[in-house]
């Protein structure tokens, strides 16, 4: 049995589970949802025709039709392109986003031998090596201390995809798109990283799993003030409201979609992928939607409690509890089995991610796009000073009151 559990605990297995269980289906559905949702917002119906025989499902099958179309389309490579880089660019755009998912905690730690009973937190605290707690499966590929730094580092590489695509295409407009893509990345990556600094200051950790399990009060020295990680008021949206707004803004800019779609700028330059066709273009398209899912996952993990369901601790629903040595205790508890807790928490993570994806589509179809100079103004003159101010205020509060 332990062989099976060690396979399940292998990061590759978790990656397959996360990518093929949540990310790919969600990203594919988003290609349909974007058109359908924008239609509903504009009093239209949107794509609702694709069907396999009588199975119609309100047009959800459109993404299958799209995929089939893109795969069988002619893979046209124009003359004078740099063949190697031209082929490399879509992969460079797609792979970093998929790699960055490795730091996202997408569920609670599962103890396979204790699934049937309510989780015994005190027994776990007394002896974490007891046989019923063996073979624990942590639902996070890499729990590394530099987790969010890793995400910044890797996701920045995705921008090389766009820039190299623009360079390799031998096309003025593609080159302009690639340049815009890197300039936009530079001006927003700064504000994006700095807007998370407040969270790091409060939590004292860069590890997303720790942020989720302990919440904003996790670093308080007096344990009686620590709230349970599942308490919605313990999530960082309350403690870093400015950071949340700044991060969401910068993150939407990072996905290169409206209102920040300067690199793709359909009205004036088609974008860095103007020379791409077929499935190569489809990879850029898919990377964009996976990036939406990833940004949602990061916002959920850092600001909205990750996989935590409100008031649901490891052993059941708890009201009025507190944290003791990283374990929530006290208060009124309604104990439910470990498997039920785990599935509710998995569902909570999925639901939060889907809702944030919906919100990003809402933003994309509501706001007009910025001009390039407005974009730079917003990035350097508004977001950057605000995120610096956020760090100062957070640091001052932490120094004086906490």
């Amino acid at each position: 049995m332990s062989t099976l559990y060690s396979i399940l605990d292998w990061p590759g297995t978790k990656w397959l589970f996360l990518v093929f269980g949540l990310v790919m289906p969600l990203a594919s559905l988003l290609t349909w949802a974007e058109r359908r949702q924008s239609a509903m917002m504009q009093d239209r119906l949107g794509p609702n025709r694709a069907n396999i025989g009588p199975i119609k499902l309100k047009g959800i099958l459109h993404f299958v039709a799209d995929a089939v179309k893109m795969i069988f389309k002619e893979d046209f490579i124009p003359a004078n392109v740099h063949r190697g880089l031209f082929a490399l660019a879509p992969i460079l755009a797609l792979v970093p986003v998929l790699v960055a998912f490795s730091i996202i905690p997408f569920g609670p730690t599962i103890y396979p031998h204790a699934l049937k009973e309510p989780f015994d937190t005190f027994a776990f605290a007394a002896n974490a090596n007891a046989p019923e707690f063996a073979d624990a499966i942590r639902m996070q590929m890499f729990a590394v201390d530099f987790g969010l730094i890793f995400y910044f580092a890797v996701l920045t590489l995705a921008n090389y995809g766009g820039t190299i695509a623009g360079w390799a295409s031998y096309n003025k407009w593609a080159l302009l798109g690639g340049l815009r893509s890197s300039s936009q990345m530079m001006s927003y990556e700064v504000a994006m990283g700095l807007s998370l600094m407040g969270v790091f200051l409060l939590a004292g950790s860069l590890e997303p799993g720790w942020l989720v399990s302990h919440g904003a009060t996790g670093m308080l020295t007096e344990q009686k003030h620590q709230m349970s990680g599942s308490h919605p008021l313990n999530w960082f949206w309350l403690w870093q409201p400015l950071g949340l707004v700044l991060f969401v803004t910068a993150a939407i800019a990072e996905t290169k979609r409206a209102p920040f779609d300067i690199p793709e700028g359909e009205p004036e330059i088609i974008g860095y992928f103007v020379e791409y066709s077929g499935i190569r273009w489809g990879m850029f398209f898919l990377a964009e939607f996976i990036e939406i899912v990833f940004i949602s996952a990061v916002i959920v993990t850092v600001f909205l409690g990750g996989w935590q369901f409100p008031f649901l601790d490891a052993d059941g629903f708890r009201i009025g509890g507190y944290m003791m040595d990283g374990i929530s205790t006290g208060g009124f508890v309604w104990k439910i089995p470990h498997w039920a807790v785990a599935s509710i928490q998995f569902g909570a993570f999925g639901l939060k991610v889907v809702l944030l994806c919906w919100f990003q589509l809402m933003i994309r179809w509501t706001l007009p796009r910025f001009r390039a100079d407005q974009l730079m103004n917003l990035g350097w003159k508004v977001l950057l000073p605000l995120s610096l101010a956020n760090i100062m205020i957070t640091a001052a509060i932490k120094l004086l009151f906490l």
Partner: protein
């Protein structure tokens, strides 16, 4: 600049501030664009307002049922119906927009009371046709009271510009465009040519007096 283009310039033009005007050509000017200051440079309030509008539309269209095909199929913007959403899409093959009464559709040839074609091959319609899409070859009629009838009557629907002049020109109410049908989709060009048989197949008996009411119709009205 010709003399005919001299017109009075309005004394004051609303718009950008004019910094300097070229002495050679007064139309060449240096202007300063004055834009209002942004009240909210973070755009947050405006974003919230916009989101409220789009979310309201989205929720209404998501949760309320569509208006009926009959309401949507009326000409013009469909009216608001209580407890129905705002979606305006008419799903074409299943639902259709009701065309106005005088819609000009596919042609048809009308019939006399005895079932013969009403057309007397007077050549008014091919003469007036701006697209030259009507071909008529006349022949002698069997009926001694009628001089001619069309042996061939063909309309190339690909060339037809659907202007309706043929119907206006016809003195016998022989050709009409009131079928409410579109020209059929075809794979070859010759298939778009409507001949006498197909035009007559849509025809019905007309109750109009053949050849009008004659030159003294005003007297007969009295």
């Amino acid at each position: 600049m010709s003399a005919s283009h001299t017109h009075e310039e309005p004394a004051h033009v609303e718009g950008p501030k004019v910094l300097s005007v070229s002495p050679q050509n007064p139309k060449v000017r240096t202007i300063q664009v004055v834009r209002p200051e942004n009240a909210d440079t973070t755009y947050l309030a405006a974003t919230a307002t916009g989101l409220a509008i789009t979310i309201r539309h989205f929720a209404k269209n998501l949760f309320l049922p569509r208006r009926s095909a009959k309401v949507l199929g009326q000409g013009g913007a469909p009216p608001d119906v209580k407890l129905r959403n705002d979606i305006e899409t008419v799903q074409y093959p299943e639902e259709k927009v009701q065309y106005p009464e005088r819609f000009r559709g596919l042609h048809r040839l009308m019939l006399r009371e005895d079932g013969a074609v009403r057309c007397v091959a007077c050549m008014c319609c091919p003469t007036v046709c701006p697209a030259n899409c009507i071909t008529i070859v006349p022949e002698e009629s069997d009926d001694p009271s009628i001089e001619k009838r069309p042996a061939v009557f063909e309309i190339d629907e690909l060339r037809c510009v659907v202007c309706g002049l043929c119907v206006e020109a016809c003195p016998c109410d022989a050709i009409r465009m009131d079928t409410m049908m579109h020209a059929h989709p075809v794979e070859e060009r010759w298939q778009a040519i409507e001949n006498k048989t197909s035009l007559l197949s849509r025809g019905v008996k007309s109750i109009a007096t053949q050849g009008g009411e004659g030159p003294d119709w005003r007297e007969s009205k009295k």
